[in-house]
Symmetry: C2
Subunit: 369 residues, 2 copies
């Protein structure tokens, strides 16, 4: 290994990745997965209108994308009842989280999140030299009161909170989230990740208030809109905060075909309703399959179901590995005690049939191990 002129921070970082993609697992196994229900993608796909818009946009891909994402921002602003200057669009929520962390975090900055919450957020915090302050889940839900308390105790300028939560699918209602927003201490910003909000019950998202400089909300086209491969996410924030992303973002970063697809996709409300129904049905089916195998599905407000395998993380990992071996791609939480679960994304009937077929054998094999 050569001695590159890296900063001391860079030298300290691991070359590992937050997630291994299912493609890497497929290459290792030498065969494709039969069911791809591990990354909370929307296997139901994007709106047919979005597909058509992307096909049309393909021949214009010789043009650089609009770095202001003008048309998409206008439409998002209309939908959310805010102004375009309250919207920042990026290469998925992942890129925007990186931008936000970069603006706030430097050497040893304390940052509060839940133990076992989104690893890519943690990756960014570590990547900019921050110090993670980890708050345990409480009854398999993120714990807003303790997150705020920890932020106060450590003077953390940044707090991460996902609602609904990934990987558990649990959630808090709008009143609780509003209470959390109201409690954000001065000098701190709440990063409210609402990637799964479209799957949640009514009254899960508090009203959007862009006059509040202490919260930024993130939404995505990767989940309900079925465009994970497109890489389009956005933040909604007070204009000064949204504008500040211009200091650090990759201005020409959002693919032009993706911008066209995202625009068409939010205009097709019928498709969104359709996907919601399909996800609801799939969640019920996953729960049914779990119960039939004497393991316990948790109630979910997202497009996946965490299933309590009834023992510890080692056992759940075995069940997961046995499913993967049988061609069913699923994932699981990282931290105890949530890692007693496996996490299964909503699938089409054929995906869930593969899961249903593999699960009894997987559990049996895990028990025999």
């Amino acid at each position: 290994m050569n001695d590159y002129p890296f900063t001391s921070l860079t030298k300290s970082l691991p070359s590992t990745v937050p997630f291994v993609g299912p493609e890497a697992q497929e290459r290792q196994m030498g065969k494709p997965f039969q069911a791809r229900i591990g990354a909370n993608e929307s296997v139901f796909g994007p709106s047919p209108q979005a597909i058509e818009a992307m096909r049309l946009a393909a021949m214009d891909v010789w043009r650089y994308c609009d770095p202001e994402n003008h048309d998409l921002k206008e439409e998002l602003a209309t939908i959310h009842g805010v102004k375009p200057e309250n919207i920042v669009v990026g290469e998925g929520i992942d890129a925007l989280l990186g931008n936000l962390v970069r603006m706030i975090v430097s050497n040893d900055t304390p940052v509060v999140t839940s133990l076992g919450a989104y690893p890519t957020f943690n990756y960014h915090v570590a990547g900019f030299g921050g110090r993670l302050e980890l708050v345990p889940y409480k009854n398999d839900r993120e714990d807003p009161e303790t997150l705020i308390e920890r932020a106060k105790a450590t003077s953390a300028p940044l707090i991460y909170f996902a609602n609904p939560d990934n990987p558990m699918g649990s959630w808090h209602d709008a009143n609780s989230v509003q209470a959390m927003i109201d409690a954000v201490p001065e000098g701190a910003i709440l990063c409210l990740d609402e990637a799964y909000i479209e799957f949640a019950p009514e009254l899960t998202a508090p009203p959007i208030d862009v006059s509040n400089p202490r919260v930024i909300r993130f939404r995505t086209f990767s989940k309900a809109y079925g465009m994970a491969g497109a890489r389009v996410g956005y933040g909604i924030a007070e204009a000064g905060l949204a504008l500040a992303f211009n200091k650090v973002r990759n201005h020409f970063g959002v693919n032009s075909i993706a911008q066209a697809g995202a625009l068409a996709s939010i205009r097709d409300r019928g498709w969104l309703l359709n996907v919601r129904q399909l996800v609801d049905k799939a969640r019920n089916e996953i729960a049914h399959i779990a119960r039939a195998n004497n393991i316990k599905p948790l109630v979910s407000a997202a497009n996946f179901v965490a299933i309590d395998c009834g023992r510890d993380g080692v056992f759940a990992r075995r069940v997961l590995n046995e499913l993967v071996t049988r061609g069913v791609f699923v994932r699981m939480p990282f931290a105890a005690p949530q890692d007693r679960c496996i996490r299964v994304s909503a699938g089409r009937p054929e995906d869930l049939a593969a899961f249903e077929a593999a699960l009894p054998e997987a559990i049996k094999a895990a028990e025999l191990f």
Copy 2:
């Protein structure tokens, strides 16, 4: 403006953008450009095979992209005679430049580049707190010897050099570039931006040698491959350096449709040859138009021609503005004395006809100003 808990570095950064997109100008003017020949895009478009691959990939966009960019890396490795671990793929060269700068640059790190070279590189250096050491062009070409000397004098760990150069279109031959690579001081890395290399004469690029840890070469699908809106660029480097990007990159950042298009596009060598011929013809035509208007085209190894308007930057800016007003989108160098030129990208016959029609009036109006 609220007092956000930004780092002192973030607070010091401007919210301005490296480039204003032509779409923003069009919105301001209230009409589209007649000719879009300002951003060195390939108006000839991508390979028809790439378009077809992207159209096909659109319906699978519900899947996250392969974060390892496996298939694309394999193909690029084969073409360049290196191993996949010598390749790093990112959201355009822009994103990779950001990653590279982030790994090397922190507070007050000296970084060497040419005065008037690629602004987005400078944006990244400023964004990570670095200090730019600017070396003037020499006879409208970047000056390898002085760049190396300055790196030695300042102990700069990072040097930027583009071959062919943007915005002038000038270039150095392979022997000169190899001599520069060989002269990179210990503890420094040469960032060799070869975005325009496909348009250059034979023997402009020195052989690729991935055993050398002191150089990383960047290539792109935005120029000759006609996929600027797709956002795919790549670096070729010693494996340890290429792998280190995993410490900081946005792993799921490269759009899946773009990956499919890039793969199809490098397999279509015929299209690349076709584009090269069209660009060569367009460069000649631009030169012809310039001479017919008594302004001086510079010889170019890229898909654009810098035209010396014969006076200073103020005059060239006027010519540019008059062209823009007449529906012809062009750009110009930022720094004197190169800013005596306007920069015109290779266009189709109809684009260059619009340029030809507007130029005499534009010069006349600029002279009358």
